[in-house]
């Protein structure tokens, strides 16, 4: 579904991603680990096509279409979606407005069906009436992001740290909804949607079993393997050692 080949990306004149390759098939969920500042968010922003993320080399292909030069909304129309690690606050634009936009409605009220949707994420009606992200707590931001994705229903979903700063109960809630969004409740052969999840804690992995994990170091995918193995090695030995072990023993 998503194929990234030899991707090199510059941000503000600085090379952040180097010669990166990644292939995510339809129905697959991959998880991306890596230390702070290694380029994880940059990769997602580049996949979404934000203008300050300049592709210097390589291609991004989505559903067989080369989208390297597509604008963000063209990519979104094709079925890409993302939950942001640090979404901006927009004054005067309510969370309810964002949900309507994600639903493809340019205008609209906060109606019963939206309230129902919000309830599933433990989001109260009053919250839909608040300016998006303005004064939201860390956990609230995450739930608001997932709510918008639930409305948007993309075919390929990128989650940038959906579990950071979220309490145990809400992690379970978010995890379950992510499973639904990513067709994880279906038989593997029936799964169509795919995703890429960035997580530091790996908490969300208790609820959603990924197919493959990658470790990113200095803008490159340094090693890849089975999620359980990789998580264990990172937790026990750290990122560098995990990559080293991988190269000694071969793929995890």
């Amino acid at each position: 579904m998503l194929k990234i080949k030899n991707l090199t990306v510059e941000v503000e004149g600085k090379e952040i991603i180097r010669d990166l390759n990644l292939n995510i098939e339809s129905g697959e969920v991959h998880v991306l680990f890596g230390p702070n500042g290694c380029g994880k968010t940059t990769l997602l922003m580049t996949i979404l096509g934000f203008p300050n993320y300049k592709v210097k080399k390589g291609t991004i292909t989505f559903k067989g279409v080369d989208i390297t030069d597509f604008t963000t909304n063209e990519r979104v129309k094709l079925g890409l979606g993302m939950s942001f690690q640090h979404p901006p606050e927009i004054r005067g634009v309510k969370l309810g407005d964002m949900v309507n936009i994600a639903l493809g409605k340019k205008e609209g009220e906060i109606d019963e069906s939206m309230i129902e949707l919000a309830k599933r994420l433990n989001i109260a009606v009053e919250f839909l009436n608040r300016d998006v992200n303005l004064g939201f707590s860390g956990g609230e931001v995450k739930r608001s992001e997932i709510l918008q994705l639930l409305a948007q229903a993309p075919d390929f979903i990128m989650f940038d740290e959906p579990d950071s700063g979220v309490d145990v109960e809400n992690i379970e809630l978010i995890g379950k909804i992510m499973c639904e969004l990513l067709d994880r409740n279906k038989l593997p052969s029936k799964r169509e949607r795919s995703g890429l999840i960035i997580t530091h804690s790996g908490f969300v992995m208790h609820y959603i079993k990924a197919d493959r994990a990658h470790v990113m170091l200095n803008g490159r995918i340094a090693c890849s393997g089975m999620p359980d193995e990789i998580t264990k090695r990172i937790m026990e030995d750290g990122f560098e050692r995990c990559v080293e072990l991988c190269s000694v023993k071969g793929a995890c």
Binding site: T71, I90, V93, D131
Partner: protein, 405 residues
């Protein structure tokens, strides 16, 4: 009394205003009289849209009364509900001797050449009064309409809410498309008595040849409330106004919200000042200004705290959509004692790239995202209005925004 007033006005005839570029009043004629209408709906078809654009409902639906002044003539004035009075200020001065206690009491007649001009050559304006205890939640609408070219319109409006009464007013100022230049001088004095409430929603729908110099002041007594909503979205040649609200009574409350979208070569100097003289009085000034093309906006806010436990806040936000426009945001606070609290926040900036991208990530094009952000920026919560009126004000605002975007 009257002689004294006229003398003072005469002496101020050439007195330049403290703010705004000077206008040669004599360049504008006095215009001709127009025939009265028996219903507002009779207004010629070509003018109906002008009225609608200024928030005026020609059908008079959902209005407790209507007033229409065309150039120098009051061509319609009727009130449908008991407890309310509505007529030309000229008629009211003749009818009520006591009105002299209100005339030029909130604004000095010799403030500048514009106030002087209105005194010396006044052509009507509206007088609205709600009787003590009466509460009509349906708004009165008044329209000041210019349809003749190169004329000046000099109105003096007086609005009085007697004790414990409630009065809601929508004023629309409009100009017909055939007018290439005109001058509007409007003096407005509002009196909010003990426990009373006035809400004033004003839509300015001018055009690029019109010069405008409103002079407004509000006096609020004990436990009185005054809410003003001002919307200006269309171009104007130049507009300068700095309405002052005097919270003289204990616990007097004033809220002023203004939304200004300036395009073309529009020059606007608009502010709001509150003087907190009553113990525990409170004022809030909120403004949103957008400048595009070559527009110049000066957005002022001023709170002067003089009484115990007074509270004032200014929130001024500006959004720049062009590199050839300018916004000056000037919030001022003045405290004259310890036991009060004044604050302001002001910000001017451009649309954040990040916000556009966020909206694009949810499927909007760049233009759609920009328009959502602008809409959001201007979206101040309209508080203090009856539900129906709040909804309608929101609709009027959406409509004006639709026009400019």
């Amino acid at each position: 009394m009257k002689e004294d007033r006229i003398e003072r006005a005469e002496r101020a005839r050439a007195k330049k205003a403290a703010l705004g570029e000077d206008i040669a009043i004599e360049d504008y004629g006095t215009g001709k009289e127009h025939d009265a209408l028996t219903s507002l709906d009779e207004i010629p078809e070509e003018y109906k849209q002008n009225l609608l654009d200024a928030g005026i409902e020609p059908s008079e639906r959902e209005r407790s009364g209507s007033f229409l002044q065309r150039d120098r003539s009051v061509i319609f004035s009727k009130v449908k509900y008991p407890g309310l009075e509505l007529m030309s200020t000229t008629d009211a001065i003749e009818k009520y001797g006591w009105l002299k206690e209100y005339l030029w009491k909130a604004i000095p007649v010799d403030q500048d050449k514009y106030t002087a001009e209105v005194e010396l050559d006044q052509t009507h304006g509206y007088f609205i009064r709600s009787e003590a205890g009466s509460k009509v939640t349906m708004p009165v609408q008044s329209c000041l309409f210019i349809t003749s070219d190169k004329i000046r319109q000099n109105v003096h409006n007086i609005v009085i809410a007697e004790e414990n009464s409630e009065l809601h007013l929508i004023t629309g100022c409009a100009v017909s498309h055939s007018v290439s230049s005109a001058l509007h001088l409007g003096v407005s004095e509002f009196y909010v008595k003990k426990g009373a409430k006035i809400t004033f929603t004003m839509i300015h729908s001018w055009s690029s040849g019109v010069e405008v110099r409103p002079r407004s002041a509000v006096v609020i007594e004990d436990d009185g409330t005054y809410v003003s909503n001002y919307i200006l979205m269309t171009p104007v040649k130049s507009l300068q106004t700095y309405p002052t609200t005097y919270c003289v009574g204990k616990n007097a409350r004033a809220t002023s919200q203004s939304i200004v979208y300036a395009s073309g070569d529009t020059k606007i100097d608009v502010g709001s000042r509150a003087v907190l003289q009553g113990e525990g009085s409170k004022a809030e000034i909120i403004s949103r200004a957008i400048a595009t093309d070559n527009a110049r906006i000066i957005a002022r806010g001023d709170v002067i705290g003089e009484a115990a436990n007074a509270k004032g806040h200014i929130e001024c936000r500006g959004l720049m959509l062009s590199d050839t426009a300018t916004i000056d945001s000037i919030p001022e606070l003045k405290a004259t004692r310890r036991d009060l609290e004044l604050s302001h926040e002001a910000a001017v900036g451009k649309i954040a790239e990040e916000e556009i991208q966020y909206l694009m990530a949810r499927g909007l094009s760049e233009d759609e995202a920009t328009s959502v952000i602008i809409r959001g920026f201007l979206n101040v919560d309209i508080t203090g209005l009856p539900d129906a009126l709040a909804k309608e004000t929101k609709k009027m605002f959406d409509m004006s925004l639709e026009k400019v975007m």
